[in-house]
Symmetry: C2
Subunit: 127 residues, 2 copies
DNA sequence: GCTTGCCTTGACGCCGACGACAAGGTTTAG
DNA sequence: CTAAACCTTGTCGTCGGCGTCAAGGCAAGC
């Protein structure tokens, strides 16, 4: 499988796959003419990477999951390192959610205050 | 008031104030030697900017609030343009919170699955 | 042979809010 | 006289995950 085919099957671009390889996440054989050749297993790897990135992981966070897959596991999640990252990410997400909740609350306060002020001004202007 | 003093009083840096000025948010007189001179009103402007940026606004989002303050209002929130931005930002925050909730849910699922798998493996290895 | 369509490496662009540094001018205190 | 401590403009660097050329090689069909 050449890079274009893998890219299409994984729903991404050749550029992206080379980028992953440059960062040590994806591996490829080389044909005589220098083309990258991938086996089926890499498709699963790339899909794992994509799924995690979509969820907000960084490339570094993804490494343990890829290693876990390469170690022969059916899921990238089941290795200790992956679990560590999962826990950390959940905690991060929780923190952001809390923060955004507070932000939302504050913005809501500013909004209602502004509306109230507008009512007042409007009433005054009608006198 | 020179730029260093304003920066300190607003809890930021001279570089940041020049950046705001370059983007049309903050204004300054110039002394004979070319130094920027700020009046007290600019302190409130800068604080408004900082408060909004801290909450996740971009510089463009902040403009209406600054204009509102310059128009003589006691709060930057009370003008129609500000209210529009406030509503939009609240909607954005809500969307992100929803998305993160889904992400959290998925990650939690992956984690429990991984733990369950580990239990299984552990049990097998003890046989 | 020529075009088409793959592939290769390399390098710059992006976005946003600045930080950091360069190279210089000014004023003040010792 | 000089050092310190301000100020000025200008430019490059940062972070991440790529997109987008550029310039070229290789394979295959007509």
């Amino acid at each position: 499988m050449l890079i274009g085919e893998l890219a299409e099957r994984a729903g991404t671009s050749p550029r992206t796959l080379r980028y992953y390889e440059a960062h040590g996440l994806v591996r490829a054989q080389r044909s005589a003419n220098g083309y990258r050749i991938y086996d089926e297993a890499e498709l699963r790897v790339v899909r794992e990477i994509r799924a995690l990135l979509d969820v907000g992981f960084g490339l570094d966070d993804v490494r343990p999951f890829v290693a876990c897959l390469r170690a022969g596991n059916s899921s990238g999640d089941v290795c200790p390192d992956s679990v560590v990252v999962l826990r950390r990410k959940i905690a991060e997400v929780d923190a952001v959610i809390d923060r955004l909740g507070a932000v939302r609350h504050q913005l809501h306060g500013q909004l209602t205050h502004a509306i109230a002020h507008r009512e007042k001004t409007c009433l005054r202007s009608r006198k």
